[in-house]
Symmetry: C2
Subunit: 297 residues, 2 copies
Amino acid sequence: MRMSIKQLRAFLAVAHTLNFAQASEKLNMSQPAMSLAINTLEEALGGQLFTRTTRRVQLTPEGDTFFPMARQLLADWDNTEEAMRQRFTLQTGKVSVAAMPSFAANALPRVLKAFRERYGGINVTVHDVINEQVIEMVAEGRVEMGVAFEPQASASLHFTPLGTDRFVAVVSRESPLAQRGQLSWRELLAHDFITLQRPSAVRLLLEERLNAHGHPLKVAFESHQLVTVGHMVACGLGVSAVPALCESQMTALGAACLPLGNPVIERQIGVIRTRHGQLSAAASALLATFRAQFSLR
Amino acid sequence: MRMSIKQLRAFLAVAHTLNFAQASEKLNMSQPAMSLAINTLEEALGGQLFTRTTRRVQLTPEGDTFFPMARQLLADWDNTEEAMRQRFTLQTGKVSVAAMPSFAANALPRVLKAFRERYGGINVTVHDVINEQVIEMVAEGRVEMGVAFEPQASASLHFTPLGTDRFVAVVSRESPLAQRGQLSWRELLAHDFITLQRPSAVRLLLEERLNAHGHPLKVAFESHQLVTVGHMVACGLGVSAVPALCESQMTALGAACLPLGNPVIERQIGVIRTRHGQLSAAASALLATFRAQFSLR
DNA sequence: CACACTTACGATATTCGTAAGGATT
DNA sequence: AATCCTTACGAATATCGTAAGTGTG
């Protein structure tokens, strides 16, 4: 027979009170049960832990050395149990998420705020990387999930759409265009065009779609930071087109945004995760928060 | 319901094999029992540890974080159990013992050798201190037991006699006395007497007993080291009397020892321990070794 | 269709509590 | 004589193993 948890609790109670009756009361058990628990524990360990005349209970030297061991063992036990319970009840935990810049800088903070208000104990690590790296990090398991454009169908990746991101026109507030209700690409492209540099998914998408519709893209200025693009437009250097997600950012920089059509250029944005590796409880909660936040729009 | 040891072992086995059937076999239980164990563990922790289709068993992220925790918990558990068993079976442990110099330097090493041969894993700490300090250290609990002269009866100290220590005469080998079969105190005291300095229990005992028998002690040379006394005698500076325990030591220093009577001065030597504080298993074994070694003489 | 986990149920083993016993102060 | 631990025994509980069930590949 080997040690059991109950026996350890019994030992600690008796070692503390030096009285079987009080100890058994504290553990909500009968006194004979306590007696038996101590006896079987002693048998399991191969020697006496207490010397007990009917009048005095006392730790043996071996019992004395066992005392701190038992206490540590039970403390670790209880802590582990509690840590797991907290993890499952989302009182603690952590989740890593990757997001492409346009999302990370605009929609994500609001989602994280809602998540944090609901699950204050969960640590969230955000990796703000370009669209391709989001997919790469998810595939490699470096993050549990990512927010990016819908990738081409994959056996290992799963995509949960959150919404469509449509390109809008960005013009200077002083420009006559700012007064228009909406613009066509032909009208927009008549002006100097400012946009992101080549590796950007936004830039590549633009070129591809515009080419397909017979609107080759001629770029007057380019930058690798959207902020710079926004400032350039605000200063009247030219016009641009950005995903609607970035609209508020552009507005804040002093530019004006308006609907852009003919053709409408849009793409699905959503959460990417591995198909077979399941999400942690924390990640599931974050995903649910994503879906809740975006179903409202 | 809370975690049990068996559930933890079940979890580790399944986490390792990722197969309920193999895991249950390894733990000598039926496969449904394993299924139940995992289920109740998951219930205890409040969430799933494995995702299991009938074809694939896989750790959830929570199960993954639980894995090292569970392993550590069980390792600590088993180590503690084993450490206690070893302590009780005297494969390990430690014992502190105090001994007065005459005993520590002469009889003790032989006892410790026998003890060590039998109980190689037990660490023994010896405090070689004067007789009074032996008693003090036992009373204060700084050592589990001590070897000293029999103290006056005490409510808190217990004395186990090992044997009597009788004073023998020490003379130079060149002295005519060395040829005698035995000596009386009167004959011995006719020569220059060399002995230990005052705080020594041996010195005090000698003075007390000799006075009681009308032989006031006149000391020619004194030292606080028995080795010095022995050398002095060997060089022919005078004679001495030492406890029989020190006989071999004196002989080794080049002096001759012979029986000394009229009066015979002797005192009980034994093991002192506290009456109520019990001995550790290791100390009991050491005490038993003491008794065995001395019952042979 | 076969394999692997789950559910069901009866048997076994363990644990527990009440009552009586024994020892010490 | 009172207190406190131990022993004894019947009952409740938990666990386990066999057998049948269910879903996946």
